[in-house]
Symmetry: C2
Subunit: 263 residues, 2 copies
Protein backbone atom coordinates (compact mmCIF):
# COMPACT_ATOMS: atom_id res chain seq x y z
CA UNK A 1 0.00 0.00 0.00
CA UNK A 2 1.38 3.41 -0.92
CA UNK A 3 0.34 6.89 0.07
CA UNK A 4 0.46 9.78 -2.37
CA UNK A 5 2.39 12.74 -0.99
CA UNK A 6 -0.09 15.51 -0.13
CA UNK A 7 -0.26 18.21 -2.79
CA UNK A 8 1.36 21.56 -2.01
CA UNK A 9 -0.43 24.86 -2.55
CA UNK A 10 1.92 25.70 -5.44
CA UNK A 11 1.28 22.36 -7.16
CA UNK A 12 -2.46 22.86 -6.75
CA UNK A 13 -2.34 26.37 -8.24
CA UNK A 14 -0.25 25.14 -11.18
CA UNK A 15 -2.81 22.40 -11.89
CA UNK A 16 -5.62 24.97 -11.70
CA UNK A 17 -3.69 27.45 -13.87
CA UNK A 18 -3.33 24.72 -16.53
CA UNK A 19 -7.12 24.16 -16.43
CA UNK A 20 -6.50 20.61 -15.20
CA UNK A 21 -8.81 21.23 -12.21
CA UNK A 22 -12.02 23.13 -13.03
CA UNK A 23 -13.93 21.96 -9.97
CA UNK A 24 -14.59 23.06 -6.39
CA UNK A 25 -11.42 23.22 -4.30
CA UNK A 26 -12.67 21.65 -1.03
CA UNK A 27 -10.10 19.07 0.05
CA UNK A 28 -7.47 20.18 -2.51
CA UNK A 29 -4.01 20.80 -0.96
CA UNK A 30 -5.42 19.94 2.45
CA UNK A 31 -4.12 22.05 5.33
CA UNK A 32 -3.50 25.11 3.15
CA UNK A 33 -5.78 28.07 3.73
CA UNK A 34 -8.30 28.78 0.97
CA UNK A 35 -9.70 32.24 0.32
CA UNK A 36 -12.65 34.10 -1.18
CA UNK A 37 -11.79 36.50 -4.02
CA UNK A 38 -13.36 39.90 -4.70
CA UNK A 39 -11.90 42.09 -7.49
CA UNK A 40 -13.01 45.72 -7.72
CA UNK A 41 -11.86 48.86 -9.53
CA UNK A 42 -9.44 51.06 -7.58
CA UNK A 43 -12.08 53.78 -7.33
CA UNK A 44 -14.03 51.56 -4.87
CA UNK A 45 -11.02 49.96 -3.16
CA UNK A 46 -10.64 52.30 -0.19
CA UNK A 47 -14.33 52.14 0.70
CA UNK A 48 -14.39 48.37 0.35
CA UNK A 49 -11.26 47.94 2.47
CA UNK A 50 -12.82 50.25 5.06
CA UNK A 51 -16.00 48.15 4.97
CA UNK A 52 -13.92 45.02 5.62
CA UNK A 53 -12.00 46.79 8.38
CA UNK A 54 -15.28 47.74 10.08
CA UNK A 55 -16.85 44.31 9.64
CA UNK A 56 -13.98 41.90 10.30
CA UNK A 57 -16.17 38.92 11.18
CA UNK A 58 -17.90 38.63 7.78
CA UNK A 59 -14.96 40.22 5.89
CA UNK A 60 -11.65 38.94 7.28
CA UNK A 61 -8.98 40.33 4.93
CA UNK A 62 -6.06 37.99 4.22
CA UNK A 63 -4.43 40.00 1.42
CA UNK A 64 -5.01 42.96 -0.90
CA UNK A 65 -3.08 43.52 -4.12
CA UNK A 66 -1.50 46.79 -5.19
CA UNK A 67 -3.74 48.49 -7.77
CA UNK A 68 -3.14 46.81 -11.13
CA UNK A 69 -1.11 43.93 -9.67
CA UNK A 70 -2.49 40.39 -9.71
CA UNK A 71 0.04 39.01 -7.22
CA UNK A 72 -1.13 38.41 -3.63
CA UNK A 73 2.36 38.95 -2.29
CA UNK A 74 1.53 38.35 1.37
CA UNK A 75 -0.19 34.97 1.14
CA UNK A 76 1.07 33.50 -2.15
CA UNK A 77 4.12 35.24 -3.66
CA UNK A 78 4.36 34.47 -7.38
CA UNK A 79 0.70 33.51 -7.74
CA UNK A 80 -1.54 35.12 -10.36
CA UNK A 81 -5.10 35.92 -9.30
CA UNK A 82 -6.16 36.13 -12.97
CA UNK A 83 -5.61 32.42 -13.66
CA UNK A 84 -5.04 30.60 -10.36
CA UNK A 85 -8.69 30.03 -9.44
CA UNK A 86 -10.64 27.26 -11.17
CA UNK A 87 -13.68 29.40 -11.94
CA UNK A 88 -14.63 33.09 -11.77
CA UNK A 89 -17.90 35.01 -11.86
CA UNK A 90 -18.09 38.39 -13.57
CA UNK A 91 -20.75 40.87 -12.44
CA UNK A 92 -21.55 44.03 -14.38
CA UNK A 93 -23.72 46.67 -12.70
CA UNK A 94 -24.59 44.12 -10.02
CA UNK A 95 -25.75 41.40 -12.46
CA UNK A 96 -23.95 38.09 -13.05
CA UNK A 97 -22.98 38.21 -16.73
CA UNK A 98 -20.58 35.30 -17.16
CA UNK A 99 -18.51 32.51 -15.63
CA UNK A 100 -15.00 31.87 -16.92
CA UNK A 101 -11.77 30.08 -16.05
CA UNK A 102 -9.46 33.09 -16.36
CA UNK A 103 -9.82 36.88 -16.20
CA UNK A 104 -6.59 37.94 -17.92
CA UNK A 105 -8.24 40.38 -20.32
CA UNK A 106 -10.39 41.95 -17.56
CA UNK A 107 -7.56 42.81 -15.15
CA UNK A 108 -6.62 46.33 -16.20
CA UNK A 109 -4.32 48.74 -14.35
CA UNK A 110 -7.12 49.84 -12.02
CA UNK A 111 -8.10 46.46 -10.61
CA UNK A 112 -7.55 45.59 -6.94
CA UNK A 113 -7.89 42.01 -5.69
CA UNK A 114 -9.10 41.23 -2.16
CA UNK A 115 -8.61 37.79 -0.61
CA UNK A 116 -10.89 37.11 2.35
CA UNK A 117 -10.70 34.20 4.77
CA UNK A 118 -13.21 31.38 4.25
CA UNK A 119 -14.92 28.93 6.57
CA UNK A 120 -12.97 25.88 5.38
CA UNK A 121 -10.23 26.71 7.90
CA UNK A 122 -12.44 26.71 10.97
CA UNK A 123 -14.42 23.71 9.70
CA UNK A 124 -11.18 21.72 9.63
CA UNK A 125 -10.56 22.85 13.19
CA UNK A 126 -14.05 21.71 14.24
CA UNK A 127 -13.59 18.31 12.57
CA UNK A 128 -10.12 17.94 14.10
CA UNK A 129 -11.78 18.52 17.48
CA UNK A 130 -14.32 15.77 16.86
CA UNK A 131 -17.20 18.17 16.23
CA UNK A 132 -19.36 17.07 13.27
CA UNK A 133 -20.00 19.49 10.39
CA UNK A 134 -23.40 18.59 8.98
CA UNK A 135 -23.15 19.89 5.40
CA UNK A 136 -19.89 17.97 4.97
CA UNK A 137 -21.64 14.85 6.30
CA UNK A 138 -24.59 15.47 3.96
CA UNK A 139 -22.29 16.36 1.05
CA UNK A 140 -24.02 19.63 0.21
CA UNK A 141 -23.35 23.36 0.49
CA UNK A 142 -23.53 25.10 3.89
CA UNK A 143 -26.91 26.84 4.50
CA UNK A 144 -26.61 30.65 4.49
CA UNK A 145 -29.13 33.28 5.61
CA UNK A 146 -29.60 37.04 5.42
CA UNK A 147 -30.01 38.34 8.98
CA UNK A 148 -31.45 41.46 10.59
CA UNK A 149 -27.94 42.39 11.80
CA UNK A 150 -26.73 45.44 9.87
CA UNK A 151 -23.10 45.62 8.85
CA UNK A 152 -21.31 48.83 9.75
CA UNK A 153 -21.58 51.13 6.72
CA UNK A 154 -18.48 52.42 4.89
CA UNK A 155 -19.02 54.91 2.09
CA UNK A 156 -21.35 53.30 -0.45
CA UNK A 157 -21.07 49.84 1.09
CA UNK A 158 -23.87 48.80 3.44
CA UNK A 159 -26.30 45.95 4.02
CA UNK A 160 -27.22 43.05 6.30
CA UNK A 161 -24.80 40.43 7.53
CA UNK A 162 -25.10 37.01 5.90
CA UNK A 163 -24.44 34.05 8.21
CA UNK A 164 -23.79 30.35 7.73
CA UNK A 165 -25.35 27.77 10.08
CA UNK A 166 -23.99 24.52 11.48
CA UNK A 167 -26.05 22.36 13.86
CA UNK A 168 -23.83 21.47 16.84
CA UNK A 169 -24.56 18.85 19.55
CA UNK A 170 -25.34 20.65 22.84
CA UNK A 171 -22.32 19.12 24.56
CA UNK A 172 -19.98 20.51 21.87
CA UNK A 173 -21.26 24.10 21.67
CA UNK A 174 -18.78 25.57 24.15
CA UNK A 175 -15.87 23.78 22.48
CA UNK A 176 -17.08 25.01 19.07
CA UNK A 177 -16.90 28.59 20.36
CA UNK A 178 -13.40 28.03 21.76
CA UNK A 179 -12.07 26.30 18.67
CA UNK A 180 -13.33 28.90 16.19
CA UNK A 181 -12.33 31.84 18.43
CA UNK A 182 -8.72 30.86 17.68
CA UNK A 183 -9.25 31.88 14.04
CA UNK A 184 -10.47 35.49 13.85
CA UNK A 185 -8.99 35.88 10.37
CA UNK A 186 -11.41 33.28 8.99
CA UNK A 187 -14.68 34.54 10.58
CA UNK A 188 -13.72 33.50 14.12
CA UNK A 189 -16.23 32.90 16.91
CA UNK A 190 -19.96 32.44 16.17
CA UNK A 191 -22.14 35.53 16.08
CA UNK A 192 -25.22 33.74 17.48
CA UNK A 193 -26.16 30.49 19.23
CA UNK A 194 -29.73 29.16 19.27
CA UNK A 195 -33.08 30.71 18.24
CA UNK A 196 -32.79 31.79 14.58
CA UNK A 197 -35.66 34.31 14.95
CA UNK A 198 -33.53 36.49 17.21
CA UNK A 199 -31.35 37.36 14.22
CA UNK A 200 -34.23 37.63 11.75
CA UNK A 201 -34.20 34.10 10.31
CA UNK A 202 -37.78 32.85 10.06
CA UNK A 203 -37.39 29.45 8.44
CA UNK A 204 -34.16 27.62 9.18
CA UNK A 205 -35.04 25.07 6.47
CA UNK A 206 -35.22 27.75 3.76
CA UNK A 207 -31.74 29.26 3.51
CA UNK A 208 -31.22 32.30 1.25
CA UNK A 209 -28.10 30.69 -0.23
CA UNK A 210 -26.73 27.12 -0.20
CA UNK A 211 -28.68 24.05 0.90
CA UNK A 212 -30.80 23.19 3.95
CA UNK A 213 -29.29 20.62 6.34
CA UNK A 214 -30.82 18.34 8.99
CA UNK A 215 -30.91 19.61 12.57
CA UNK A 216 -31.08 16.56 14.82
CA UNK A 217 -32.59 16.12 18.27
CA UNK A 218 -30.07 17.38 20.82
CA UNK A 219 -28.43 19.90 18.49
CA UNK A 220 -28.34 23.71 18.56
CA UNK A 221 -28.07 25.83 15.42
CA UNK A 222 -24.87 27.89 15.64
CA UNK A 223 -24.34 30.85 13.30
CA UNK A 224 -21.09 32.27 11.94
CA UNK A 225 -20.55 35.45 9.91
CA UNK A 226 -20.22 34.45 6.25
CA UNK A 227 -17.93 35.53 3.42
CA UNK A 228 -20.93 35.92 1.12
CA UNK A 229 -21.69 39.16 3.03
CA UNK A 230 -19.15 41.39 1.24
CA UNK A 231 -20.16 40.02 -2.17
CA UNK A 232 -23.85 40.65 -1.45
CA UNK A 233 -23.07 44.15 -0.21
CA UNK A 234 -20.75 44.97 -3.12
CA UNK A 235 -23.38 43.79 -5.59
CA UNK A 236 -25.84 46.35 -4.20
CA UNK A 237 -23.34 49.11 -5.07
CA UNK A 238 -23.63 47.91 -8.69
CA UNK A 239 -20.01 48.55 -9.70
CA UNK A 240 -19.32 48.73 -13.45
CA UNK A 241 -17.40 45.52 -12.94
CA UNK A 242 -16.84 43.16 -10.04
CA UNK A 243 -15.24 39.72 -10.24
CA UNK A 244 -15.44 36.97 -7.61
CA UNK A 245 -14.57 33.29 -7.34
CA UNK A 246 -17.40 30.96 -8.40
CA UNK A 247 -18.97 29.39 -5.27
CA UNK A 248 -16.66 26.71 -3.86
CA UNK A 249 -13.94 27.47 -6.44
CA UNK A 250 -11.54 29.18 -4.06
CA UNK A 251 -7.99 30.56 -4.20
CA UNK A 252 -5.44 28.32 -2.46
CA UNK A 253 -2.86 30.32 -0.47
CA UNK A 254 0.57 29.29 0.83
CA UNK A 255 -0.62 29.84 4.42
CA UNK A 256 -1.22 26.77 6.55
CA UNK A 257 -4.51 26.82 8.45
CA UNK A 258 -2.74 26.44 11.79
CA UNK A 259 -0.69 29.59 11.13
CA UNK A 260 -3.90 31.61 11.43
CA UNK A 261 -4.50 30.53 15.04
CA UNK A 262 -4.04 33.47 17.42
CA UNK A 263 -2.88 31.15 20.19
Amino acid sequence: MTFAAPMSSKEARQMIRNNEWVKPTAGVANGYTQANLVVLPKELAFEFLLFCQRNPKPCPVLDVTEPGSWEPSMVAPGADLRVDLPKYRVYRNGELTEERTDIIDLWDKDMVGFLLGCSFTFEHALVNNGIPVRHIQENCNVPMYKTNIPCVKAGRFEGPMVVSMRPIPHKDVVRAVQVTSRFPSVHGAPIHIGDPKLIGIHDIYKPDFGDPVTIREGETPVFWACGVTPQAVAMEVKPDIMITHAPGHMFITDLRDEQLGVL
Copy 2:
Protein backbone atom coordinates in the same frame (compact mmCIF):
# COMPACT_ATOMS: atom_id res chain seq x y z
CA MET B 1 -12.31 57.98 53.48
CA THR B 2 -14.12 58.47 50.17
CA PHE B 3 -13.33 57.26 46.71
CA ALA B 4 -13.94 59.42 43.66
CA ALA B 5 -16.02 57.64 41.01
CA PRO B 6 -13.73 56.71 38.13
CA MET B 7 -13.99 59.09 35.18
CA SER B 8 -15.80 57.87 32.07
CA SER B 9 -14.33 58.19 28.60
CA LYS B 10 -16.95 60.81 27.68
CA GLU B 11 -16.19 62.90 30.77
CA ALA B 12 -12.48 62.71 30.00
CA ARG B 13 -12.99 63.82 26.39
CA GLN B 14 -15.21 66.71 27.49
CA MET B 15 -12.52 67.88 29.92
CA ILE B 16 -9.92 67.64 27.16
CA ARG B 17 -12.19 69.39 24.65
CA ASN B 18 -12.55 72.29 27.13
CA ASN B 19 -8.75 72.52 27.37
CA GLU B 20 -8.97 71.62 31.06
CA TRP B 21 -6.49 68.76 30.54
CA VAL B 22 -3.52 69.61 28.32
CA LYS B 23 -1.28 66.84 29.62
CA PRO B 24 -0.42 63.21 28.81
CA THR B 25 -3.42 60.89 29.14
CA ALA B 26 -1.78 57.91 30.89
CA GLY B 27 -4.06 56.92 33.77
CA VAL B 28 -6.96 59.15 32.65
CA ALA B 29 -10.32 57.29 32.48
CA ASN B 30 -8.58 54.10 33.54
CA GLY B 31 -9.79 50.93 31.83
CA TYR B 32 -10.83 52.73 28.63
CA THR B 33 -8.75 52.03 25.57
CA GLN B 34 -6.52 54.87 24.39
CA ALA B 35 -5.44 55.26 20.78
CA ASN B 36 -2.77 56.79 18.54
CA LEU B 37 -4.04 59.29 15.95
CA VAL B 38 -2.80 59.72 12.38
CA VAL B 39 -4.64 62.15 10.06
CA LEU B 40 -3.83 62.09 6.35
CA PRO B 41 -5.37 63.47 3.16
CA LYS B 42 -7.78 61.13 1.38
CA GLU B 43 -5.36 60.79 -1.52
CA LEU B 44 -3.05 58.73 0.76
CA ALA B 45 -5.77 56.97 2.76
CA PHE B 46 -6.08 53.74 0.77
CA GLU B 47 -2.33 53.16 0.70
CA PHE B 48 -2.01 53.91 4.40
CA LEU B 49 -4.92 51.60 5.31
CA LEU B 50 -3.34 48.92 3.13
CA PHE B 51 -0.03 49.47 4.93
CA CYS B 52 -1.79 48.98 8.27
CA GLN B 53 -3.62 45.92 6.95
CA ARG B 54 -0.28 44.39 5.90
CA ASN B 55 1.49 45.30 9.13
CA PRO B 56 -1.12 44.67 11.81
CA LYS B 57 1.36 44.27 14.67
CA PRO B 58 2.82 47.80 14.48
CA CYS B 59 -0.37 49.29 12.97
CA PRO B 60 -3.46 47.81 14.65
CA VAL B 61 -6.40 49.80 13.27
CA LEU B 62 -9.18 50.54 15.77
CA ASP B 63 -11.18 52.98 13.63
CA VAL B 64 -11.02 55.02 10.43
CA THR B 65 -13.24 58.02 9.72
CA GLU B 66 -15.16 58.60 6.51
CA PRO B 67 -13.26 61.16 4.39
CA GLY B 68 -14.02 64.63 5.77
CA SER B 69 -15.69 63.34 8.94
CA TRP B 70 -14.05 63.84 12.33
CA GLU B 71 -16.25 61.33 14.15
CA PRO B 72 -14.74 57.92 15.00
CA SER B 73 -18.16 56.27 14.89
CA MET B 74 -16.98 52.76 15.77
CA VAL B 75 -15.04 53.47 18.94
CA ALA B 76 -16.43 56.80 20.19
CA PRO B 77 -19.72 57.90 18.58
CA GLY B 78 -20.20 61.64 19.00
CA ALA B 79 -16.53 62.36 19.61
CA ASP B 80 -14.63 64.96 17.57
CA LEU B 81 -11.07 64.08 16.57
CA ARG B 82 -10.33 67.78 15.91
CA VAL B 83 -10.65 68.80 19.57
CA ASP B 84 -10.81 65.69 21.76
CA LEU B 85 -7.07 65.10 22.10
CA PRO B 86 -5.06 67.23 24.51
CA LYS B 87 -2.25 68.00 22.07
CA TYR B 88 -1.58 67.52 18.35
CA ARG B 89 1.50 67.65 16.16
CA VAL B 90 1.31 69.02 12.63
CA TYR B 91 3.85 67.84 10.04
CA ARG B 92 4.24 69.49 6.65
CA ASN B 93 6.33 67.70 4.02
CA GLY B 94 7.60 65.38 6.74
CA GLU B 95 8.77 68.16 9.09
CA LEU B 96 7.20 68.97 12.47
CA THR B 97 5.92 72.53 12.08
CA GLU B 98 3.73 73.08 15.13
CA GLU B 99 2.01 71.70 18.21
CA ARG B 100 -1.53 72.77 19.02
CA THR B 101 -4.55 71.87 21.15
CA ASP B 102 -7.08 71.69 18.33
CA ILE B 103 -7.01 71.18 14.56
CA ILE B 104 -10.44 72.53 13.61
CA ASP B 105 -9.18 74.79 10.82
CA LEU B 106 -6.94 72.05 9.35
CA TRP B 107 -9.63 69.36 8.98
CA ASP B 108 -10.91 69.96 5.45
CA LYS B 109 -13.23 67.71 3.44
CA ASP B 110 -10.34 65.49 2.34
CA MET B 111 -9.01 64.51 5.75
CA VAL B 112 -9.19 60.92 7.01
CA GLY B 113 -8.48 60.09 10.66
CA PHE B 114 -6.93 56.76 11.68
CA LEU B 115 -7.02 55.54 15.28
CA LEU B 116 -4.46 52.84 16.05
CA GLY B 117 -4.24 50.72 19.18
CA CYS B 118 -1.57 51.71 21.71
CA SER B 119 0.50 49.78 24.22
CA PHE B 120 -1.30 51.13 27.31
CA THR B 121 -3.89 48.34 26.95
CA PHE B 122 -1.44 45.46 27.07
CA GLU B 123 0.66 47.16 29.74
CA HIS B 124 -2.41 47.21 31.99
CA ALA B 125 -2.85 43.51 31.26
CA LEU B 126 0.80 42.84 32.20
CA VAL B 127 0.48 44.81 35.44
CA ASN B 128 -2.82 43.08 36.25
CA ASN B 129 -0.95 39.79 35.86
CA GLY B 130 1.74 40.86 38.31
CA ILE B 131 4.37 41.44 35.62
CA PRO B 132 6.36 44.64 36.25
CA VAL B 133 6.58 47.30 33.52
CA ARG B 134 9.91 49.03 33.98
CA HIS B 135 9.29 52.45 32.37
CA ILE B 136 6.16 52.83 34.52
CA GLN B 137 8.25 51.95 37.60
CA GLU B 138 10.95 54.41 36.51
CA ASN B 139 8.37 57.05 35.54
CA CYS B 140 9.76 57.67 32.07
CA ASN B 141 8.83 56.97 28.45
CA VAL B 142 9.15 53.44 27.04
CA PRO B 143 12.42 52.90 25.08
CA MET B 144 11.83 52.49 21.33
CA TYR B 145 14.22 51.30 18.62
CA LYS B 146 14.38 51.14 14.84
CA THR B 147 14.97 47.50 13.85
CA ASN B 148 16.29 45.69 10.80
CA ILE B 149 12.83 44.15 10.29
CA PRO B 150 11.26 45.66 7.18
CA CYS B 151 7.55 46.39 7.22
CA VAL B 152 5.60 45.04 4.27
CA LYS B 153 5.44 47.83 1.68
CA ALA B 154 2.12 49.28 0.49
CA GLY B 155 2.22 51.84 -2.30
CA ARG B 156 4.46 54.70 -1.16
CA PHE B 157 4.58 53.51 2.46
CA GLU B 158 7.63 51.50 3.49
CA GLY B 159 10.31 51.38 6.16
CA PRO B 160 11.63 49.48 9.17
CA MET B 161 9.51 48.35 12.09
CA VAL B 162 9.95 50.34 15.30
CA VAL B 163 9.71 48.31 18.51
CA SER B 164 9.31 49.10 22.19
CA MET B 165 11.23 47.14 24.83
CA ARG B 166 10.24 45.99 28.31
CA PRO B 167 12.66 43.99 30.50
CA ILE B 168 10.74 40.97 31.86
CA PRO B 169 11.89 38.60 34.65
CA HIS B 170 12.79 35.20 33.12
CA LYS B 171 10.04 33.45 35.05
CA ASP B 172 7.39 35.81 33.61
CA VAL B 173 8.38 35.73 29.93
CA VAL B 174 6.00 32.94 28.92
CA ARG B 175 3.11 34.58 30.78
CA ALA B 176 3.94 37.92 29.13
CA VAL B 177 3.59 36.26 25.72
CA GLN B 178 0.26 34.68 26.70
CA VAL B 179 -1.16 37.83 28.24
CA THR B 180 -0.31 40.11 25.31
CA SER B 181 -1.36 37.52 22.69
CA ARG B 182 -4.93 38.10 23.89
CA PHE B 183 -4.76 41.65 22.50
CA PRO B 184 -3.84 41.55 18.79
CA SER B 185 -5.63 44.86 18.20
CA VAL B 186 -3.13 46.67 20.44
CA HIS B 187 0.15 45.21 19.07
CA GLY B 188 -0.45 41.72 20.53
CA ALA B 189 2.32 39.20 21.17
CA PRO B 190 6.00 40.26 21.24
CA ILE B 191 7.93 40.19 17.98
CA HIS B 192 11.23 39.20 19.63
CA ILE B 193 12.56 37.86 22.93
CA GLY B 194 16.20 38.19 23.95
CA ASP B 195 19.33 39.29 22.04
CA PRO B 196 18.67 42.80 20.65
CA LYS B 197 21.37 42.38 17.94
CA LEU B 198 19.26 39.77 16.17
CA ILE B 199 16.79 42.49 15.21
CA GLY B 200 19.43 45.13 14.47
CA ILE B 201 19.56 46.92 17.84
CA HIS B 202 23.20 47.53 18.73
CA ASP B 203 22.96 49.46 21.99
CA ILE B 204 19.93 48.69 24.15
CA TYR B 205 20.79 51.69 26.34
CA LYS B 206 20.55 54.11 23.41
CA PRO B 207 16.95 53.97 22.18
CA ASP B 208 16.04 55.87 19.00
CA PHE B 209 12.93 57.29 20.72
CA GLY B 210 11.85 57.53 24.37
CA ASP B 211 14.11 56.87 27.36
CA PRO B 212 16.53 54.09 28.33
CA VAL B 213 15.41 51.86 31.23
CA THR B 214 17.31 49.57 33.61
CA ILE B 215 17.60 45.90 32.69
CA ARG B 216 18.17 43.99 35.92
CA GLU B 217 19.98 40.72 36.55
CA GLY B 218 17.57 37.88 35.75
CA GLU B 219 15.57 39.83 33.18
CA THR B 220 15.20 39.36 29.41
CA PRO B 221 14.51 42.23 27.03
CA VAL B 222 11.20 41.59 25.28
CA PHE B 223 10.25 43.57 22.16
CA TRP B 224 6.80 44.54 20.91
CA ALA B 225 5.86 46.20 17.62
CA CYS B 226 5.33 49.91 18.28
CA GLY B 227 2.74 52.44 17.12
CA VAL B 228 5.51 54.90 16.26
CA THR B 229 6.16 52.73 13.18
CA PRO B 230 3.32 54.09 11.00
CA GLN B 231 4.15 57.69 11.94
CA ALA B 232 7.83 57.17 11.09
CA VAL B 233 6.89 55.52 7.80
CA ALA B 234 4.29 58.16 6.89
CA MET B 235 6.79 60.92 7.60
CA GLU B 236 9.15 59.45 4.99
CA VAL B 237 6.39 59.85 2.38
CA LYS B 238 6.47 63.59 3.19
CA PRO B 239 2.75 64.26 2.76
CA ASP B 240 1.75 67.92 2.27
CA ILE B 241 0.13 67.61 5.66
CA MET B 242 -0.01 64.92 8.34
CA ILE B 243 -1.35 65.37 11.86
CA THR B 244 -0.73 63.07 14.83
CA HIS B 245 -1.30 63.10 18.58
CA ALA B 246 1.60 64.60 20.54
CA PRO B 247 3.54 61.78 22.28
CA GLY B 248 1.56 60.49 25.26
CA HIS B 249 -1.41 62.78 24.49
CA MET B 250 -3.74 60.07 23.23
CA PHE B 251 -7.37 59.80 22.14
CA ILE B 252 -9.61 58.12 24.76
CA THR B 253 -12.16 55.75 23.18
CA ASP B 254 -15.38 54.30 24.62
CA LEU B 255 -13.95 50.78 24.32
CA ARG B 256 -12.95 49.02 27.52
CA ASP B 257 -9.53 47.37 27.38
CA GLU B 258 -10.98 43.97 28.21
CA GLN B 259 -13.33 44.14 25.21
CA LEU B 260 -10.26 43.87 22.97
CA GLY B 261 -9.29 40.46 24.35
CA VAL B 262 -9.78 37.75 21.71
CA LEU B 263 -10.53 35.15 24.38
